[in-house]
């Protein structure tokens, strides 16, 4: 019998038993759909994080206090206070590959205006911060160097602050008003354009940006920075910029030749890689879980196929009597089980794709990697072969005389 005819026979056998075939497909359908969904969410989040990070500027460099933590070693709290005003000034004076620099001090707390209040984070920055973040002032203006020098009690705020404290669309009215952050009055000089939520669901517009001198002196009461953000002249010059910054800081910290850096500089590209690999790990864990469900589904198919072979003993006996070899019989059942698992896979892929398309509607990014579809089909074929093998062999090894008498 040629392969085409074998397929016809198998398709008919599957079609003759629609309910049972469907039930045995169900495990595969769910498993494959789950894998496609996991992969699409993983991929989607990765892409959106990547996109987000790149809109934040691909030439962004972040200097944090303390040695490289990626080894997971705990550090002395004092090690986290290594970035000081002197470092910032040195960078500003000596930079060649760096265009903008801003020290960063942050604090969280309640903001009050009149009877309205909300919780927010205040960022102490230099005026260059908005250039680094490629963020524009929509209403009013940014604070300036003068404000830094005087540690002026001024700020620019994100849209959410305006909405919460002054009401929707009251940007113009907010300018010049004094809001209170931890009882310190700050005069609003500018309102930033809206950025919306990022992919972690964080509201990027719920920010107050004030001169770093003001935040350090009046609010956080600290003499060190939580980080320094810079932007390299171009993305290509990021490495050169990192090199330059490292030298400046090492000199300034008077580190010996063999001492490790007491700060860490990460480029945006590195951040992306870290994010991606974290997402990959999460995705892999989820996919492995879904893969186990496929294993169970495969066993389900084997179960059904074994029942089917026993039920069709007489048919097998007849086919053998009229000249089917064991090989052809086993192929017939193997094709049948592959057909079941592959059809299940197809439905699963369609279902998975469909559900993945729905995620963006609830604000969850998803993007189906094409290869996950090919892999799903390959895996389903493999499951069909592996779990169809034992039933097929059982059929092939039947004795035609006994099989044909079977009732």
């Amino acid at each position: 019998m040629n392969i085409l005819n074998l397929f016809k026979v198998s398709i008919r056998a599957v079609a003759n038993n629609k309910m049972r075939s469907f039930l045995s497909m169900l495990g595969i359908i769910i498993g494959v759909a789950a894998i496609i969904i996991m992969m699409s969410i993983g991929q989607g989040s990765k892409e959106s994080i990547r996109q987000e990070l790149s809109t934040m500027g691909t030439n962004l460099l972040t200097i944090r206090p303390g040695a490289d933590m990626r080894g997971g070693v705990r550090q002395d709290p004092s090690a986290m206070q290594t970035l000081k005003i002197g470092d910032y000034q040195c960078i500003v004076n000596e930079k060649k590959f760096v265009s903008y620099v801003s020290p960063e001090v942050t604090a969280s707390g309640q903001v009050i205006y009149g009877n309205s209040n909300t919780t927010s984070t205040i960022y102490g920055e230099s005026p260059e911060y908005l250039d680094i973040k490629q963020w524009k002032v929509e209403e009013g203006q940014n604070f300036n160097e003068e404000d830094i020098r005087k540690a002026s009690k001024v700020c620019v705020v994100g849209k959410t602050i305006v909405n919460e404290l002054f009401g929707e669309g009251k940007e113009a009215e907010a300018i010049g008003k004094n809001i209170r952050f931890k009882s310190i009055p700050l005069r609003i000089v500018g309102v930033l354009e809206g950025k919306g939520y990022n992919s972690w669901g964080m509201d990027q517009d719920n920010v107050i940006i004030a001169p770093y001198t003001c935040v350090m002196k009046r609010i956080a009461a600290q003499t060190y920075f939580s980080s320094i953000v810079c932007s390299a002249l171009t993305e290509e010059l990021s490495d050169a910029a990192i090199e330059e910054l490292t030298q400046i800081l090492r000199n300034n910290h008077k580190l010996k030749e063999n001492a490790v850096d007491d700060f860490t500089i990460r480029s945006q590209a590195e951040m992306m890689d870290t994010m991606s690999s974290t997402m990959d790990t999460v995705t892999i864990i989820l996919v492995v879980a879904a893969a186990f469900s496929l294993l169970v589904a495969g066993i389900g198919i084997m179960n059904i196929m074994l029942v089917s072979v026993t039920e069709r003993t007489k048919e097998i006996g007849l086919r053998m009597a009229v000249g089917a070899t064991g090989m052809v019989i086993s192929l017939q059942f193997l094709i049948e089980s592959v057909l079941i698992s592959l059809t299940g896979g197809l439905i699963g892929v369609l279902l998975g794709c469909l559900i993945s398309q729905l995620f963006p509607l609830i604000g969850m990014p998803s993007s189906i990697p094409a290869w996950s579809i090919y892999v799903s089909f390959a895996v389903c074929t493999l499951i069909g072969i592996i779990f169809g093998y034992i039933p097929a062999r059982k059929a092939a090894n039947m004795d035609p005389i006994e099989a044909i008498r079977h009732e």
Binding site: R319, A321, V322, G323, T325, P400
Partner: protein
């Protein structure tokens, strides 16, 4: 056996065929040395009491089983040393089986059932297969029932389909085990008419039966007892099944 018979082609030759089954520590001797030749165009009935070895013998003749000792030549080919796959091919090309309970594929049309043996012969194209199946169904008088499904047919019709399926590969020999066992008297006679027609057309038929009456419609009868040939007789006066059928009382209309 006379000299006239010897000139005809030998389709089946058994040479001291024995078939023993080992059941636990006991040996069941189902066939204890059977020898005979069957010539082309013979209609042979095989009879014998239950357990005399008829089915075991038919399994040998149909190449479903191999002898413990002795040799079996089908159309001149020795079968005993053949592999399973070789025997499957031999069955496919040279044997036509008719079973007691028809053994049609469920939910499958008559013509597809008849095509089945040819599906396992790659020499046939799908067109040739269909043509041969239609021809075989016409030969058994079912030319107008090609697309009927097996569950939409009567027992007699199903057995006709089964006979058509046995004929479709133009076998050297047609083997029937109790082919009329499940049918009423009238339908049994109709089946005998068909077998006699096939006999007249030159088919070689071996028909296992419990019913001694059937032997009167065949050309030769072999009687088994305890796994041995007890009697092997030529029937000089072959009765006509068609006449017997005509003589049967007409079925009542309902």
């Amino acid at each position: 056996m006379n000299s006239q018979q010897d000139k005809r082609k030998v389709v089946i030759e058994l040479d001291n065929v024995k078939r023993y089954f080992q059941v636990g520590s006991e040996t069941v001797k189902a066939l204890r040395g059977v020898s005979f030749k069957i010539y082309e165009g013979e209609f042979v009935t095989i009879m014998g009491t239950s357990g005399s070895g008829k089915s075991t013998l038919l399994n040998q003749l149909g190449c479903l089983d191999t002898p413990t000792s002795g040799e079996y030549y089908l159309d001149g080919t020795p079968v005993r040393k053949m592999s399973k796959n070789q025997r499957a091919k031999l069955r496919n090309r040279k044997i036509g089986f008719v079973f007691q309970n028809y053994n049609l594929l469920a939910k499958t049309t008559a013509v597809e059932n008849v095509e089945l043996p040819l599906m396992y012969n790659n020499k046939y194209t799908s067109k040739q297969r269909r043509e041969a199946a239609i021809q075989a169904l016409q030969a058994v008088g079912l030319g107008d029932r090609l697309e009927h499904k097996s569950n939409q047919m009567s027992g007699g019709q199903m057995q006709r389909v089964a006979i058509a399926r046995a004929l479709v590969n133009k076998p050297a020999v047609l083997l029937a085990d109790e082919a009329t066992g499940n049918l009423d008297t009238r339908t049994s006679f109709e089946m005998l008419v068909l077998f006699q027609k096939l006999h007249q057309e030159g088919h070689t038929i071996i028909f296992v039966t419990h019913n001694p009456e059937i032997a009167e419609y065949a050309s030769r009868n072999i009687n088994l007892r305890d796994g041995k040939v007890r009697e092997d007789t030529i029937n000089p006066h072959i009765k006509s099944a068609a006449e017997a059928l005509a003589a049967l009382p007409q079925p009542q209309d309902d």
